[in-house]
């Protein structure tokens, strides 16, 4: 009954130390020593150093399942475990710093570029390394104890506290965006963000924390009331939060918010949102292929390129040459809105073209072959054969700005609306397809191809249809991308785009439409907003994907409908059970005694 032995705490602490060393070695600590989040005291570097020991304490204090029973770790013990693990983490991390210092920073730096004098100084608090490592261990221990204690503190404390800390940190990270938005709205900003440090001011942070605590408490209260109402009143008449009227009001408010967003957040953020829209369109398309039909397509960038280049050619873009520009070998001068249907049709045809040869492949093999097809995109675009058409490595320029009645969509704040319109369209199309017999056929096929066939689903047709529909929606992403950028080069169509899109679809939750949007916001929007982290983008991608696979394979936003209905379902189940007991009894009488018949003749199966 003692739980895990001490050695396992230390092991966890050393794992945390390894994490810290890794983060330090890739430069996530030293490079951000001046990224102030709150005042000058809370920097991103400090946050990274603190989060690791805190986290290990938090994780170690989680309840355990022992012999089928859930055991909470008692609070003092949680703090002790956290402290031990934290000290181990600090000692490990500090020892590494001491070792590097003794070995010579420059020699280590020859391999690990981010290991600098400054890093060692930062990690050891400017003290002599051994003394610094000691301080680090003590502080880590304290943080670990704090993490363990926090995990075991009562929920009514933990929730508001956690919300407050997260809210302050998020505001701190949004220091490039929120102040601009405040400026745009002609609001005073200096009380919240310091112009000198860049981050939040302490009074601003305190205010944010108080607001977050209040919001968290109010939310908990409302949820409690909702539960009471539901338990008391049964399913009908128990509309929480004032019911339909409030929901309509919220919906309208959300609509206005979405519509006004680019005006509020300014052109930098609008630019990022535009990229999010492009990737959301790609994600929605790929979601049909992978999420609905279960065909793992790694060559999805094909449709991105098809959409972009087709639109460029149809709307009279020109080729870049060394001397200036030239007319493509084949082009048209259509308007954007005339060209789009053709783009869609062509992309759908491309989908059939790609789908046909890989029809018989499944799973890994399909992924491999489509990966190859994706790799072909840049090869094709750069090839001398297609250069007269798409400009080869030099690319194209003068893509239409999709002007509607003289109103162009090139500028980020305008593009936002074009993107929004197409994303909404793609959402509606995806949703309706999923809810139709076509969506059911796809799902059945994903679950078991052979059985779907045996139940009347023409598997070949529906596979091709998935490729075609996925391609059509993805090509819209490409077309919008062309409009947004105004010029095209092969570098935009590397196979990594496929991986990014697949990543956001998986992160959000396969087959989930809100999931795609959230996935695009998280994987495309966040790195775009936090420019400092640009270099760490793929590190974050990898971490996010591994994390999601380990912790939440169904994605960030899985099928929420079911979760929400769970409670109602339970009540319905009770009612149904009562009603059917009588029926069961009748059955019972009818079949109670299976008459034992002599097996016919001598035959005994």
């Amino acid at each position: 009954m003692t739980g895990q032995p001490m050695s396992s705490w230390i092991r966890a602490g050393l794992a945390a130390a390894a994490t810290s060393i890794f983060l330090a070695a890739v430069g996530l600590i030293e490079r951000f020593r001046d990224l102030n989040l709150v005042g000058e005291e809370v920097t991103f570097a400090g946050l990274v150093m603190a989060v690791v020991p805190f986290g290990v304490g938090y994780v170690l204090a989680r309840p355990r399942i022992e012999r089928g029973e859930r055991r909470e770790v008692p609070l003092p013990r949680a703090a002790l475990v956290g402290a031990v693990a934290g000290i181990a983490a600090g000692l490990g991390f500090g020892a590494a710093a001491v070792a590097v210092d003794a070995f010579g920073v420059d020699r280590v730096r020859a391999v690990f570029l981010n290991v600098t004098e400054g890093l060692i100084e930062l990690v050891t608090f400017g003290l002599p390394p051994v003394a610094g490592a000691g301080v680090l261990a003590v502080m880590s221990g304290a943080l670990g104890a704090l993490g363990g204690a926090y995990r075991r503190s009562p929920e009514r404390w933990r929730r508001p506290l956690g919300t407050a800390v997260v809210a302050v940190l998020v505001l701190g990270f949004l220091q490039r965006i929120v102040p601009i938005a405040l400026d745009q709205l002609n609001l005073e900003r200096d009380w919240l963000y310091s112009r000198r440090t860049g981050g939040l001011t302490w009074p601003g942070a305190a205010l944010a924390a108080v607001v977050a605590v209040l919001a968290s408490v109010v939310k908990a209260r409302l949820a409690e009331r909702w539960r009471d109402l539901a338990d008391r009143g049964g399913s009908e008449g128990a509309e929480p939060f004032g019911g339909l009227r409030l929901r309509t009001a919220l919906f309208v408010a959300g609509l206005i918010g979405v519509a006004a967003l680019p005006q509020v957040v300014g052109s930098v953020v609008s630019e990022v949102l535009g990229t999010v829209m492009v990737f959301a369109l790609l994600g929605l398309g790929l979601n049909i292929v992978v999420g609905y039909a279960g065909l793992l397509d790694l060559g999805y960038v094909f449709f991105f390129a098809t959409g972009a280049y087709t639109l460029a050619l149809l709307t009279g873009a020109t080729l870049n040459t060394f001397t200036g520009q030239a007319e493509p070998a084949l082009s048209a001068e259509l308007g954007f809105y005339l060209a789009i249907p053709i783009v869609i049709a062509l992309a759908a045809a491309t989908g059939l073209l790609i789908g046909a040869p890989v029809l018989r492949l499944r799973g890994d093999y399909l992924a491999l072959v489509t990966l190859g097809l994706g790799e072909m995109v840049t090869v094709l675009v750069k090839s001398p054969w297609l250069t007269p058409l798409v400009g080869g490595p030099n690319g194209m320029r003068n893509v239409t700005d999709a002007a509607l009645f003289g109103f162009g969509f090139r500028s980020p704040q305008h593009f936002y609306y074009l993107g929004l319109a197409f994303v909404l369209l793609a959402l509606v199309v995806s949703h309706r397809l999923a809810a139709s017999r076509i969506g059911r056929a796809w799902t059945a096929m994903r679950e078991d191809e052979q059985i779907a066939d045996a139940m009347g689903v023409n598997v070949v047709r529906y596979k091709l249809l998935a490729f075609a529909m996925g391609g059509a929606i993805g090509s819209l992403g490409g077309a919008l991308f062309a409009v947004k950028i105004g010029s095209l080069t092969p570098a935009s169509f590397e196979v990594i785009v496929s991986i990014q899109v697949l990543g956001l679809v998986i992160l959000g939750g396969l087959g989930s439409l809100p999931g795609v949007v959230v996935g695009a916001l998280v994987l495309v929007g966040l790195p775009g907003l936090l420019r400092e982290f640009e270099e760490y983008r793929f590190l974050a991608y990898g971490a996010a994907l591994v994390g999601i696979m380990a912790l939440r394979p169904q994605g960030l936003v899985p099928n929420v409908r079911r979760m929400r209905e769970l409670r109602e379902e339970e009540r319905a189940q009770d009612a149904w059970a009562r009603a059917s007991i009588a029926q069961e009894r009748e059955d019972e009488e009818e079949y109670e005694e299976p008459p034992v018949e002599p097996a016919g003749g001598e035959l005994r199966p």
Binding site: S436, E447, D453, M455, G456, W576
Partner: protein, 263 residues
Amino acid sequence: MSEDRIALEVVGLTKTFGGLAALNGLDLRVREREIVSVIGPNGAGKSTLFNVITGLYEPDEGDVRLAGRSIVGLKPHQIVRLGIARTFQSVKLFPNMTILENAMVGQHCRSRAGVLGAIVRTPAVRREEARIRERARAALAFFGPRLVGYREEQPAFVLSYANRRRLEMARALATEPSVLLLDEPTAGMNPRETLEMRDNIVRMRDELGLTVLVIEHDMRVVKGVSDRVVACDYGRKIAEGSYEEVAHDEQVIEAYLGRRAVG
């Protein structure tokens, strides 16, 4: 029951797997609204017969005719559309789809909404969708209260074993077949469930007017449902007739109990 129109006819069907003949010139005729049981020891070729009839395998020789029309060479989904539905010996559902959705997939071959229709949601498509739903529900209701009500919206994997079998049958019924092939419909069921299933098979003929070909090992079920029994061994028909006739047939008994050692 003695209508003489042939619903399903199998002529000289042969299917070999690497030299092993799973079916060896099998002949079989099933009249309309007739329940025929196929019995035989393991490896007698019963399931292979079903797989060939439903187009999962192509026969090496012989012909399968549905209402006089040859269906050899057609794809499984085309055969379902022509009116042959089946269940599988090891229950094969779409486990993550809801119970209603499973049955609605059965209606797929009886509906035709295309991409544009589904996106625009024309009135015709909406009517069709309502009809799909209604017929799927009707198919589920065939098995009483077990698959209806709140259960409709549950994923199929939550069902008990017997209910999975029922759902698989409901899905087959939802394809609106004329001929239903049931592969060991009572395998793994307890005695009560087995007897209920026996009654259900009879109801399929009497209430739905189906022609049923059933592979079954439980002799009480075979006795209870069969208009005719066909016994197979080594891919050939070794006996045919009423339950009593087949059950007392020397060859059948030998096939089940083993042959006398050859001296």
